[in-house]
Subunit: 226 residues, 2 copies
Amino acid sequence: MPRNAVVLLSGGLDSTTVLAIAKREGFEINAMTFRYGQRHQIEIESAQRIAAQARVAQHVIVDIDLRMFGGSALTANLDVPKGRDVSEMGKGVPITYVPARNTVFLSFALAWAETLKSEDIFIGVNALDYSGYPDCRPEYIEAYQRMANLATREGVEGRQNLRIRTPLIDLSKADIIRRGLSLDVDYGMTSTCYDPSADGRACRECDACQLRIKGFAANGMEDPAQ
Amino acid sequence: MPRNAVVLLSGGLDSTTVLAIAKREGFEINAMTFRYGQRHQIEIESAQRIAAQARVAQHVIVDIDLRMFGGSALTANLDVPKGRDVSEMGKGVPITYVPARNTVFLSFALAWAETLKSEDIFIGVNALDYSGYPDCRPEYIEAYQRMANLATREGVEGRQNLRIRTPLIDLSKADIIRRGLSLDVDYGMTSTCYDPSADGRACRECDACQLRIKGFAANGMEDPAQ
């Protein structure tokens, strides 16, 4: 019987690549997507299409409202930065950072993993292109895994088998795309833009769009979703 | 200016005592309560009355649905154990355990604390009477605090000041009640029962009721909420 994995799936380029990696490893996929008050809700529709195409075992959309905490351009009515130089992006915590977002997401994933008796939670964090996000750093992920192994029934019973799997953590965007293409990921289905138009078109100017375009260019391609 | 604290307030005996302790320490209180699909929703009304009486700065009710994960008598349609011997309660993980509940609750508290620039999150966990719950143990709380200090903007900037405050962690129920009475906590306002009647009366037989009744008896009192 295939082992269960919980995969955090935003509908973006990174998490879609992670889903393909987890499938290739032979896991039965339990995909989890959050409707958290993000401006770019188009990504939820992308996640649904991607999960269906990947024939996941289950796909849940979890409703939570992180807007109450404010403080992020992704959930509040703040301007998403446009046209920043890519070399500037790793410096400081960006305004698109949502307070404790990955901590909240991983905690729901942990609850589900415990119920499914799954020992693998996949998340598409990337420390290279998003070094400004505190909750994308390897030391954060390691601390989360340590905590998670104490948080559950298995922790009480002395088993510490839960792993937070971050296959993209030290890859460049170009490397991620190369990996995904080798796994036949259809990047035309993914949504990455922080500030898409009402009909879902990417802005091509926010940090996320720029990093994508550059990553495809490094692979000698146009971004198929743009 | 008083410092901000986030206080997880369920409306039960423990968290109401914690709220009084945080107030006595001089904090401005930001109380957070979860509507998570629990059977005992009466506790949310109790939390609202308790927060109002304590004149908290803010009280938020966060809607999340932990029922999707199943596996707990507190959220699913399973029988809450009644009439168990108190000496049996610390053995094994009880059926009233909700997968990763404290991890999810603390993660929302962390997001709020980051937004409020608060360095103190209070939670009424207790390792003595609830030793069967993995996420009430000191080693879990320490691991959570370590993770939380890497999860936020402050973590990136090298500050590690966030504290998960657990003033009840090694107290008996009788000690908790004694402490609360010294702080003028009105325990008649609190709801603890895992399986109250439709009009909000406690069952007096579940683990939570029994521990309460015993704790008040040790202080020479009847439980004012029963």
